[in-house]
C-alpha cells in the first residue's frame, strides 16, 4: 500500500491508487460495502481515514453507502463511495436523487462481469449503467474512464473537482483489470482549486433561515424549470469538460474507438496495423459523459469506417453511431467479459472486416 504522498514513483494497484488519490484530494468521508474487485479501496480507507481522523463507515448496504455520501456532501465536504456492477445497481436510486439534489457525490465503479451476479472478471458491461443511468428521471452523471493506474490517480482528483464544480454526481469508471493491476504511479498534491460551497451547503442555519436540499417538486411547472436548468448545466459540462485522446486520426481510413483498459490493447493494435501499412487511427474517450460526439462527427467526414472495441456486448458503439450519424459504417469488435481481446486478435479481426 502506498504512503499518502510520495515524491517518487511507487508501484501500486489501481484500487490503492484510487483510494490514495481520494485521500490526497481531501476526501473527508468514505462510506462503502465490500465487493470484489474493488474491496482494496474500502480496506485502504478503513485504516487511512481513521489515522487521519476523517470519517469512515462500513455501511450496511450499498443503498446506505450512497445515501451516506449524499448526507455528507450535503454539508459541502468531499465524500465518496466505491463499488462494482451488481452493487452499483443498488445505488441507482441514490444517484438519481443526488443529481436532483445537485450534490457532489463521487462514486468509484470498478466494473465486473454481469448481468446478475456474473463474475469478478474485468468487464465494460456497465457503460450503460454509468452513462445512461438506471435511476429514474432525466439526469446525467459525469463519467471518467481511466486506462492506466496513473490515470486512476489523475482522474480521481478530477472526479472530486468536477463533482464540486458542477454540483453533479461523478463516476470514476474503472474495471477489474485496472483495479487489480499494479503500475508505477506518481501522487501529487490536489491540483485543482477548492470550490466554495458556502452558498448552498447545510452547515446549520446560523443567522439565516434554514436551507432545504430537496428533489420533491409537487408542481409540474417548477419541475420543468428545474429540468431546463439542469440540462443547461449538462450543456455547459459538454462544452467545457469533454476529454479524449486521439492518435493518427488525421489521415485514418479506419478509426478504432475504445475506452478504459481495453483501449490499451487497441492502441497497440493500431500501431501494428500502421506497421502493416493500413491507415488506422486511435480514438479514446476519457469522459464518457460528456461524450466526444462533436469530434467523432468531425472525424466521420474523413474516415471511411469506425470500429469500436469493447468488453461487453456493444454499448459505447451506440454513442459512436449517434455521433457518426450514418456518415460511414460503425462496426463492433467485442468480447462479453474478461481481459480485453489481445492486440493481435484485434489486428486479425480488423483485417477480416
Amino acid at each position: 500500500m502506498p504512503e499518502c504522498l510520495t515524491n517518487k514513483k511507487v508501484l501500486t494497484k489501481g484500487n490503492y491508487a484510487i483510494a490514495n488519490a481520494a485521500v490526497l484530494a481531501g476526501c473527508q468521508c468514505y462510506f462503502g460495502y465490500p465487493i470484489t474487485p474493488q474491496s482494496e479501496i474500502g480496506e485502504f480507507m478503513s485504516g487511512k481515514m481513521q489515522e487521519l481522523k476523517r470519517a469512515y463507515v462500513s455501511a450496511e448496504s450499498e443503498l446506505a453507502a450512497i445515501n451516506m455520501v449524499i448526507g455528507a456532501t450535503s454539508t459541502g465536504v468531499k465524500a465518496m463511495t466505491s463499488s462494482s456492477s451488481c452493487a452499483v445497481a443498488l445505488m441507482q436510486e441514490g444517484l438519481s436523487y443526488a443529481t436532483a439534489d445537485e450534490l457532489p457525490v463521487v462514486l468509484v465503479s470498478v466494473m465486473r462481469g454481469g448481468p446478475g451476479l456474473g463474475n469478478i472478471y474485468p468487464s465494460q458491461g456497465d457503460y450503460f449503467q454509468a452513462t445512461k443511468g438506471g435511476g429514474n428521471g432525466d439526469y446525467k452523471l459525469i463519467v471518467l474512464a481511466p486506462s492506466t493506474v496513473q490515470e486512476c490517480v489523475d482522474l480521481t482528483y478530477k472526479a472530486f473537482y468536477l463533482a464540486h464544480k458542477y454540483k453533479n454526481p461523478t463516476v470514476l469508471l474503472a474495471d477489474g483489470l485496472l483495479g487489480q493491476m499494479m503500475e508505477p504511479v506518481e501522487f501529487y498534491d490536489y491540483p485543482y482549486p477548492e470550490i466554495d460551497n458556502s452558498k448552498w451547503a447545510l452547515t446549520g442555519a446560523k443567522g439565516r433561515d434554514g436551507r432545504i436540499i430537496r428533489s420533491y417538486a409537487p408542481l409540474a411547472d417548477n419541475q420543468c424549470v428545474f429540468l431546463e436548468k439542469l440540462f443547461q448545466k449538462y450543456k455547459t459540462i459538454e462544452e467545457n469538460e469533454t476529454e479524449w485522446e486521439e492518435i493518427n486520426t488525421e489521415d485514418a481510413d479506419i478509426v478504432l474507438v475504445s475506452f478504459g483498459s481495453t483501449s490499451r490493447n487497441v492502441k497497440t493494435a493500431m500501431k501494428l496495423l500502421r506497421e502493416k501499412g493500413l491507415k488506422v487511427g486511435f480514438f479514446r474517450p476519457i469522459t464518457l459523459f460528456p461524450f466526444p460526439t462533436k469530434r467523432l462527427a468531425e472525424l466521420s467526414k474523413t474516415a471511411k469506417k469506425f470500429v469500436t472495441v469493447e468488453v461487453n456486448m456493444g454499448q459505447m458503439v451506440n454513442d459512436v453511431r449517434l455521433a457518426v450519424n450514418g456518415a460511414c459504417p460503425v462496426e463492433l469488435i467485442n468480447k462479453g467479459v474478461g481481459a480485453p481481446p489481445s492486440a493481435q486478435e484485434i489486428v486479425s479481426r480488423i483485417e477480416a472486416l
Binding site: K9, V10, L11, T36, P37, N119, I120, Y121, V149, L177, Q180, M181, M182, E183, P184, R264, N265, K267, T268, A339, P340, S342, A343, Q344
Partner: protein, 181 residues
C-alpha cells in the same frame, strides 16, 4: 522493446510478492511496467500466478496469450504455462517439485532446485525471491542491484529484519551456475 514474465506456483509460495518485487525493480530501472494477478475462481485449486509486462514504451496489454519468461514453482504451473512460452523464451522451473522433462526444443529450460536452495539459505519461503535471481541471470533484463532495492521497497517496515536473508536468497539464485542447465 516489451517483455513479459509469468510467475506461477502454489498459493503460499509468494508468487504475487515475487512479481511485485520484479515489477518494482523494472520501475527502479526507469522502465514502464505492469503487474497483473490471477484472482477469483482462477485461484482455486492451488495455483496462483501473476504477469509482469515491462517495456521502454507505454505498456499496452496484460493477460497476453504468450510469454517470454515463465517461472514455475510447482508442477501444475509448469504444465499450465509451458505451451504459452514464445519461441526462444524461457521456462525457469523449480526442479525440487517439478519433473525435469523437456518436451519443447524451441525454448530454453532452466531447471534449478529452487525450494532446496531456499532451504539451504535458511527458509523455504525464500524460494520466490531466489527464483528472481535466476530470472535476472537468465533474462539479463534487470540488475541484481535494482532487485535488492525493489525488495527494500516491497518488504513492509515490520518485516525489514527479513531483508538480509531475502537478499542472500536473491544472490544465491543469481549466482546459480547456468551450466547446471
Amino acid at each position: 522493446m516489451e517483455r513479459n514474465f509469468k510467475i506461477a506456483g502454489f498459493g503460499g509460495q509468494g508468487v504475487l510478492l515475487a512479481g511485485e518485487v520484479l515489477a518494482n525493480a523494472f520501475m527502479l530501472a526507469g522502465l514502464n511496467v505492469t503487474w497483473y494477478p490471477s484472482y477469483g475462481a482462477e485461484m482455486r485449486g492451488g495455483t496462483v500466478n501473476c504477469e509482469i509486462v515491462m517495456s521502454d514504451e507505454e505498456v499496452s496489454e496484460v493477460n497476453k496469450s504468450d510469454t517470454d519468461f515463465v517461472v514455475a514453482l510447482n508442477q501444475a504451473s509448469f504444465d499450465k504455462f509451458l505451451a504459452t512460452i514464445k519461441k526462444g523464451g524461457w521456462m525457469i522451473a523449480n526442479s525440487s517439485l517439478i519433473k525435469e522433462i523437456k518436451t519443447r526444443a524451441d525454448i530454453n529450460y532452466l531447471f534449478a532446485p529452487i525450494s532446496k536452495l531456499a532451504e539451504e539459505v535458511g527458509n523455504i519461503k525464500m524460494a520466490n525471491i531466489l527464483a528472481l535471481g535466476l530470472v535476472a541471470k537468465a533474462s539479463k533484463l534487470i540488475s541484481i542491484e535494482n532487485l535488492e532495492k525493489a525488495l527494500d521497497n516491497v518488504i513492509p517496515t515490520h518485516r525489514k529484519n527479513l531483508l538480509p536473508l531475502n537478499i542472500k536468497a536473491l544472490k544465491i539464485g543469481y549466482e546459480y551456475d547456468l551450466l547446471h542447465v
